[in-house]
Every structure is written in structure tokens, then in C-alpha cells.
Amino acid sequence: MIPAAFEYYRPKDMAGVLSILEEQGDDARVMAGGHSLIPMMKLRMADVPHLIDLQDVEGMSGIDLGAETIRIGAMVTQHDIIEHEPLASVAPILREAALQIADPQVRYMGTVGGNVANGDPGNDMPGLMQCLDAAFTVVGPDGQRDIPARNFYEAAYMTAREDEEVLTTVTIPMPIGGYAYEKQKRKIGDYATAAAAVQIVNDGGTCASASIAMTNLSDTPIYSEAAGAALVGTSVDDAAMSAAVAAMLGDIDPTEDNRGPIAFKKHVAGVILRRAIERAWSRA
């Protein structure tokens, strides 16, 4: 498995990255941990004549906890997320999700930025970030802009990020209430057959707000506003959960593949969402 030849760059700052992107255009791509891109290059399904390694770019590996927001640099790895105790105490759903991604070796290399920017519907962080209403900061030749995670994904591997832009930071409003990231997979390291991210607020036994997003059940992650709305104002009883599942099933659009036929995926999506809601509510 030998990839096509490429020129390799390891710039030390973002200005260096952007100038190579500008110079090489579509022939250049940035790489974070490389654990999505390198396998595709080895299979020669991705051809990258100019490969820009971000590992030495300063200021992209921080986790900053503010009063109202969490800022995660794009080069923060899944391993960093799992090991960061202060982060796990304010936003435990991040650790819960990261622990379900790939395997230990991949988590040392795989980054949050790569996971959300790649646009693979199988990645877990995009749905999670939609659930948390995160924003992605991208930097390009015309400066930087923030794109809400809920508006970022257009189709498989197609996102609102332009080719000459680099995703640098994920900003998450401080999560409140109970949480769960529930994932059904065939084996450790696999992408989800179905996964659900739930963040829910309990106000004296009544659901005050609920945010629900699903992974790998469409060609993008699916933020299901209707599923969350079905829980608000209820005591999150069986009928409310059934209504949330029905609403979610109306928003997803799974396709048949080696993880199963459409009917099976819808069935699993319902089971997983129900489990996620139950667990999140028990923690709310």
C-alpha cells in the first residue's frame, strides 16, 4: 500500500499554511492526525500532491475552559479529550463520546479538528457538536469566520468550509443538564451503525430543554430539532420518548450498506436514541 508521491510541508504557523494552500490550490490538503486521510491516500482514493502537516502549527492544541464557552483547538486529540479532567467535569459527554471512537492507538493521533472537518458521516464528533450547538472557526485568505456545526455539513465529505480555509477551533457553549453519547457498533474501532448524542435539562421533573443529534444515519450528521421538541414540557415518560423517536425517524435518511438494510438501521436508531434519552435523563 504505497500512496502516490507528494510534496510534504510542515509549516510553523497558520500564515505558512495559508500561503501553501493559496499557491497550490486544489492540489494541497491539510492533515491533522492523518488517521482518515492516510488510509485513503494508501488506497489511492485520495490524491494529495501537496500535503500540509499541521503538527508544528502553534496555538492549535489548547483546551480552554471559559465561564460560558469551551474552546478546543483543532489539533487536540481524542486522547487529550479523554485525559483532560477539568474538561470531563464540565462537559462529560465529550469524554464519553471520545472513548467510543476507534481504538487507543487511533485516539492518540486522531484529532477533534480532523474528525469534524473531514465530513465523513461515520465520524462521531460532528453529531456531538451539533447536539452541543458548537461553532467551528475557519481561517482563510479573507480572515476568519465562525460556522455553526448545525449548518456545516452539506453532504458526505462536503462542508461549508472552503478549500482554502483551515478549521482551527471548536467553540462549545458550556453544556447544562444530563448527557449521553450512545453508540451501536459491530466491533471496537467500527463506525456507528447508529449513534445518538443527547443533552437534556430537568426542571423539577419536567424537561426544560433537550438537544438530540444522530450519527451515521444520513450522508451528514442529523440534528433533530423535532426530536428534542417532543421531550420539552414532558416528564420524559415512555410516550414522550416514543414521540421523540418517531420525530427522529422522520429526520434521518439511512442507506443500506454492510452495516445492514434500511429497516434495521431505523430500528437500531430508535433503540439507541431511547437508551441515550433514558441515560441522559437519569443524569439530569
Binding site: 507528494f6 510534504y8 488517521h35 492516510i38 492507538q105 487511533v106 492518540y108 493521533m109 474501532g189
Partner: protein, 164 residues
Amino acid sequence: MSKKQHYKITVNGKEEEFLAEPRELLIYTLRERLNITGPHIGCETSHCGACTVTIDGKSVKACTMFVAQADGKDITTIEGIGGPDDLHPLQKAFKEHHGLQCGYCTPGMITRATKLLEENPKPTEEEIRFGMAGNLCRCTGYQNIVKSIMAAAAEMNAAKEATE
């Protein structure tokens, strides 16, 4: 198209300098350029973990890293963990508890396990199974691998307590 570049990496404490194309996978650099054949090629698709090495304190699958990314890094392979005359407690435990049959996955297993025990010196059986999930074995059914790692952890902890 792409020219050979000059790279410098440290492997098992020894500095190595050579020319290579950036696209060369680190596992080939180790095995074919530097003749360090402990790390194995199992699947070559980032699944099996037979090529696991430690790079700057991280367990990494050497089939999923270009040599260019590894430039300047400090790498440890099974050869740097222990040899026939000075077996690491994990190597001893794998031998004593039959933690291998064909042995193909063993260098990756032990290299990964050294890092696991460094991060979590007293793991439960469940934590070992989770922490070793990136390494596949097609012979043992994992039972004796888990047993070996538990035994090595106990021995390493006892030795540590004795010196304290």
C-alpha cells in the same frame, strides 16, 4: 516526482539519519531501511496493531504514519523494550502465561501494553481489554494475553514497592 528528503529519527535511543521519500510509511522505514523487524505488518490498514510502536509517548500504528511526520521523533520498538538476556516483565509474563501462540501480534501487543501500564499501573481486566482494543490476535482468544498483562503489572508494582 517527489524527491528524497533528509530525515533524522531516534529509534531505541539510537539516532538514525537517512534519505527517503516523504510518502514512505514508517513501518517500512523501520523494517526495511533500518532492519528493525520487531514491529510487524499485519493488515497494513490501521486495524490490527501488529506494527504498534511508541512515538514521543504515544502508542502509534507505524503503518499509518509517513516517515516525514516522524522526522525528529523519538521512537521505541519492541527491540528497545527488552532482549533475550534482559526480558521486560511483560515479555517474561507473556512467556510464562502462554500469552502468545504464533507470536505475530506479540511485539505490537507488548509495545502497546508497556504504554498502557505506564498510564494505568494497576488496570482491571476490563481496563486491559479496553486499552488493548487496538491490537488483534487470531490465536489466543485474548484470555492469556490479559492474564500476562495482569501478571506483569503485579510484578512491576511489587518491584516498585520494594524499591520505595
